[in-house]
Each structure stands twice: as structure tokens, then as C-alpha cells.
Amino acid sequence: MSEIRGNKGFESPSQKDLDDYLRQSRKSITQMKDGRPPIIFKPKKALPTKFLGIMLLVVVSSSLMLVGSFINFDSPRNNNNTDTTTTVTTTKLTTTTTTTTQVETTLPIDIEKDITTSIPLVEAFINTMIASNHSLINPIVINGTINRSQTISDLELFDLVWILSQFDENSEWWNLGRSLIFEKYLLWNKTSLLTENLRTQLLALRSMITYSNDNILLESDALESYQNLTKQLWENVCSAHDNVTGTFNPDNGTILHTNDQILFSQVLAKTAGHPTLFNFSITTEKAILLLNTIYTLTESTDGLPESFDTNLTRVSDVYYSHHQAAMILALDKFSSFLGSLAIINTLTNRLNNFLMNIFLQQDWSIAFTYNQTSHNLSSKIVLNDQLLFIRTNILQNKRNFADYTLSILKLNFEAENSSYFTSSADNQTQFLTDHVHLLLSFEEFLILETTITTYTDTEATSTEYPTGAAGFAWEFTIILTVLVFISYRRRKIEE
């Protein structure tokens, strides 16, 4: 009986939290009854005190660090002093670390295994594709059995470069993207791009801009032609904006296609972060205009906007789930470059809700069972969707969803055997990039894992810290600053 069995962690809200919770719950239920997504609401935390506490600790530790740097450690007179300080601070650090360790979830073992066994497969595939003997334009043979004859298209290459650029800077994959654009394919020599359609221009612009701050570029003779082409492309793309209607109106008088909106968002997020090539204020202005357009487009008119629409004929104004996911990722980049604009947060929340609704839908699994015959979608786009889901979920720390999506993905791999890698009569352009995307998801997933392990490691070794008060205080300060930053960002996201 509960009187004696304890609470097992089930939290009882305070009176105020209870009122709040009931109010929000009612609202959410009303919304769900109308067929709209549920409201995701966070508890109103008493953060200020915690926040102030952390700030205080930062100040204390900074001054400690200052004091520490004045102390002469060789002088025996001061030794006692330092020791005491160190002990006290160590205790504090341990407590702080412990409270931040609660991010752990157990990763299903088989998925972990799947990740590690899949990576070499993907790597082998990509390596064959881009091997120096020009395999990109030749039939592919892996393990002597798999073959796929396809020439890599410009579009695929642009996509590939861009995805590669999202790996950690200077990582192997990131460098691969760099060498593709600067050494192998010399994108900036392709002036023909200027006569291409908007989509191709956006794709080209996006992949060029991602490496625009690179030293290789800045020091090379190619800088000028690179800049020229990029600028030209930029102007072409920007002229797609219709000043009269306030929307983007590139060609044929239609609104910018959803895919192009996302591409453009990715370009803008990147340029806003790297003002070397372009005027920052122009970028911001464009970004806000674009965001406004998307905001209007995603506004629900009759309840829930179509997220999974079986009728795939509408293109420009429908945000399918993979669009939502991609846009959430783009918005995340936006907010880290442009700062927290209300519209970014609102839009992110809105898209999150749509996506969440898909996850919560009774039959959300249809999202993963589209097939070529019943819908005009190839299994590869579905794979891409799944990858976007995984990445969005990782971004938002929704581990159980990420796990789930990953396990579905794993099932698909098993079900279709190696057809993801073998399909020969394939003329889709998403093929290669899907695999890199997959790799990226795995990486992000593993990084998430490693971060958690690192936390635990810190905790375990924290008792061995006293190596010198000044050095220690430095580390302490850094850890606390990170904590402050994290809680600050969390709060921002919550708003």
C-alpha cells in the first residue's frame, strides 16, 4: 500500500504547478479533440535561483582563479591555504557534476551494434564512389557483387558536399567535402551554373558557402572566381524574392517550393554566420522575409496542416514531415547564428508540434511504410525522412524517438537486405547522399553517447583533481560557464 511503499519518484506538483498543469492539460486535450497536435508544455522551473546560484559559483571560482594565479605554489607558507581551498571546491564540483549527469538513457544494444556494423558498409560505399580512379562516373562494384551503374550528377555532388560539411570541422568526412569542392570538382569553375534553374543554383550556392571560410580557399588563386560565382548565384537567388507580395517568387509566379525554402534557409543560416562574403544585414533581412513566408505557409487553416499527405501533387505549400524535420534542423542553425528571434522559436515550436503529432499518431508508422507502388515515393526518400527524424530527435534529445526511428531503419535494412546499396535501375539523385546522411546520423548519435560517457568520466575522476588551485579553478570556471550557457539556452528554447 502506498502509505508505506514510498513514492518511487512520482512527483507531486506544488499548488501552483498543479493549477498550471491542469490548465495546460485541458487546453491540450481540447486541441487534440479538434484533431490538432497536443501542446507540449514544460514545467515552470524556479530557474532564477538555480541560475543565480550558478552565476555566483562562476564569480566565486573566477575570483578563486585570480587569487590562485597570485599564490606562489612553491612557498611552503601558502601550501596549507591552497589545500583547504582545493578540498572545498572539489566537493562543490562533484555535486555540480552529479546534478548534470541525469541525461542517461540506455541504448538498445542491438542498435548500437547495428551502428557499428553499418558504418564500414557506408564508408566502403562512399569510398568506392569517390575513389581516385574516377569511379564516380563508372559502374560501382563493392565486394565483387554489388554494382550500380550511375553517373553522379551535379545535384548529387552538391548535396554530398553539403552533408559532408556538417561533420565536425577538420574531421575526415568534413575534409572529404572540402577536397571534393576545392580539388576534385572545382565547382566554382562551372559558370554554367548561372544559367541553371533556381534549385540547382541554390544547391550549388549551399555547398560552396559551407566551405567559404576555409583557408585553402582564402589563400588560393581561385578565391576571386569562387567569390564571383557565389555572389552571382546569391543575387540570382535573392532576386527570387518578390517585394510586392513579400513572399519568395522565383519563377512561374509560384511561391518558392518548400524544398527551396529549406535550401534557402540553409544558405542564409550559413551566410549569416559567415559575413565575410556577404553583407550581414542583407542576409538577416532576407532570412526574416523567408521565415515570415514559411510562417504564413505553415499556419494551419483548417486544423492540422497536412504533414503526411498521400496526395503528392501539391508541392509549394505543403510541409511534409521530412520538410518539417529539415526545417527544424535549419532553424536550429539559424538561431545559433542570428540569435533568438521570436519567429524562429515560434516556427520551431510549430514544426515540432507537427512532427510530434506524427510520432503520436496512432498510425504514424505509415510514415515508414510508404512504398514505390502505392505512392510515388521511392524507398530512398523514406530513408532520408527517417534520417531527418533521427537527427531532429537527436537535436532535441528525444532519445526514445531517435532510438525508435533507428530501430525501424534497422528493420528496413534487414527487410530489404542490401537493396539500399544494390539497386541498379535507380535514377534517383538522393542515393549516395542518403548514405552520407546516414553516417552523419550515426555520428551524431554516437557523439550523444560519448557526451554522456564524458560526463560520467568527469564525475569518476573528479576526486583526483587537486593538481594546482589555479589550474583547477580554470577548469571549474569552464565547466560552470558551460553549465550557465546550457541552462541559458534551455531557457531560451523553452520560452
Binding site: 512520482f10 485541458r26 491540450s28 538513457t105 532519445r399 526514445n400
Partner: protein, 266 residues
């Protein structure tokens, strides 16, 4: 479909005994019933049902797993050898994973996600043409019991006539029940000493106390700011244990009382 939650401020008042027997009885009366063990922290239905003459004809997943997004609603409903009766079990496996984030989500605020899942389940049952969805809720005011209260059409507030219940009831009314909009509240007074039993109590002080407590609870309900009509008074039945009496003990006093109670619900 009607969603009914059995709730109480304190534990051990008889929610499980009454909700299980009521649910089974309703099914025996021809209603399509789904009973959910929503005492997430101390689930008991699985053992209760497996030790009864019932036979569970499926091996469904746990409701706890459903709430955190592991399973689809149709995967958690057990069918039984009674055509109309379905039950849903919880387990504490997830809760035992000490530091899991899922656990935090489940036991704490939950950001409205657990609520959304619960609502999804209610909606699913509705689509499956159930007549009654019955939650045997965990006691007290936790975020999860609030979820169950919020999605319910009717709430059965179970109390028993002991001194501490009176203050507890007053508290839960003012803090929680009075804030619920939409759901109809009813009270059930359980384990009340019958007049003839009182005659056997040796100490007259205890007799008076027993009477006073019943009066205290009744008064508390009458004074409540929201209407919580007393739907039924169950007498204290000696030697009652955790069993499904309505199933094959037609003459058992509890069976008779439950039948009476069900007629009030229908």
C-alpha cells in the same frame, strides 16, 4: 464510451478491489470493458488476474511502455476468455532503470507528452467501441494521476471512514477536484462498519469513533465546493482479499454490493 477513473488521496482504500470487480461485472452484464492498471508505481492487476479463474488469451505489452512511446495502443490490450473483457497491465521495469530519462519523463511533469499518450489511448478505445474504459489510478496527487483525472468522464473518489481521511479528502477537494472542469465527480465510501457489526465492537468509544468518521466524511463531501454526490457505501466485509469475487462467487456480499453499484453506473 465512458471513461471512469477510481481515485483516492490515500492508498489502500479499496480502489483496486472495487474497480476490478466493477469492471468485470460490467463485462458480465454484456458491456465491452477495458480495465487499465494505472497504478504505475505499484501495479497489481497482472498478478491478480493470473491468479484468478480468468484466462488471459494474449501477451500484450505493458501500458507503462506505451506511455513512453514504446508500443502502439493496440499492442497493450489483453484479451481474455470473456468476450467483452479486456485488460491492460503496467509494469515497473522502466521505473527500475534508475537514471533513465524515460523514467524522469514518466514520473515527473512529462511536458504534456504522457498526457497526450493517455489521450491517444482513450481515443483508441473509443474507436474500438468500448462501452467502458476504467482506470485504477495511483493514489495521491501526482502528475500522472492528474493525467488520468483530466481524460476521464467520471471520477470515483474512493474514501474510507478513518479520521485521517477526512483531512485528506478536504485537501484533495480544494487542491485538485475543485479545479477539474468537465468530469463528473462521485464519491464511494468504502469499508464502512455495518450497524450489526458495530454491535460486536466491545469498546463503545470505538463505536462512536466509527460513526463520527462516517459523519465526518459525509459532512466533508456535503461542504465541498464542487458537487461530489455519494454514489455508494460499501460495507466492510471481513476476510476480503484481492480477488475477483463477481466472477464465480455469486452470493458473496461483495458481489451483491458490486451488482448494486453497477446498476447505479449504468
Amino acid at each position: 464510451m465512458e471513461t471512469i477513473t477510481f481515485h483516492s488521496y490515500r492508498g489502500g482504500v479499496g480502489k483496486t478491489l472495487l474497480s476490478v470487480n466493477t469492471a468485470v461485472k460490467l463485462a458480465l452484464l454484456g458491456k465491452k470493458v477495458c480495465l487499465v492498471d494505472f497504478d504505475l508505481r505499484a501495479p497489481s492487476h497482472q498478478s491478480l488476474f493470473t491468479s484468478s479463474s480468468f484466462s488471459i488469451t494474449s501477451a500484450a505489452k505493458s501500458f507503462t511502455g506505451f506511455l513512453v512511446g514504446n508500443h502502439e495502443p493496440q499492442k497493450v490490450i489483453n484479451s481474455t476468455d470473456r468476450e467483452n473483457f479486456y485488460c491492460v497491465f503496467s509494469d515497473i521495469e522502466i521505473l527500475q532503470r534508475k537514471e533513465s530519462k524515460i523514467r524522469t519523463k514518466l514520473t515527473q511533469h512529462g511536458e504534456g507528452r504522457i498526457l497526450a499518450k493517455l489521450f491517444e489511448f482513450v481515443r483508441y478505445c473509443n474507436s474500438q467501441k468500448f462501452d467502458f474504459l476504467i482506470f485504477d489510478c495511483m493514489p495521491g496527487i501526482t502528475y500522472r494521476s492528474l493525467d488520468a483525472l483530466v481524460v476521464s468522464d467520471k471520477i470515483m473518489v474512493v474514501t474510507r471512514p478513518v479520521k485521517s481521511e477526512i483531512s485528506g479528502l478536504r485537501l484533495v477537494i480544494s487542491e485538485c477536484y475543485s479545479k477539474l472542469e468537465g468530469a463528473k465527480l462521485f464519491s464511494i465510501l468504502n469499508q464502512v462498519e455495518q450497524q450489526e457489526d458495530l454491535a460486536h465492537i466491545p469498546n463503545s468509544l470505538d463505536v462512536n469513533l466509527a460513526k463520527e468518521n462516517v459523519q465526518g466524511i459525509t459532512k466533508c463531501l456535503e461542504e465541498s465546493s464542487v458537487s461530489i454526490p455519494l454514489l455508494h457505501t460499501f460495507r466492510r466485509i471481513p476476510f476480503v482479499t484481492e480477488r475477483i469475487y463477481v466472477l464465480d462467487e455469486k452470493d458473496h456480499p461483495l458481489t451483491i454490493e458490486i451488482e448494486d453499484f453497477c446498476s447505479k453506473i449504468l
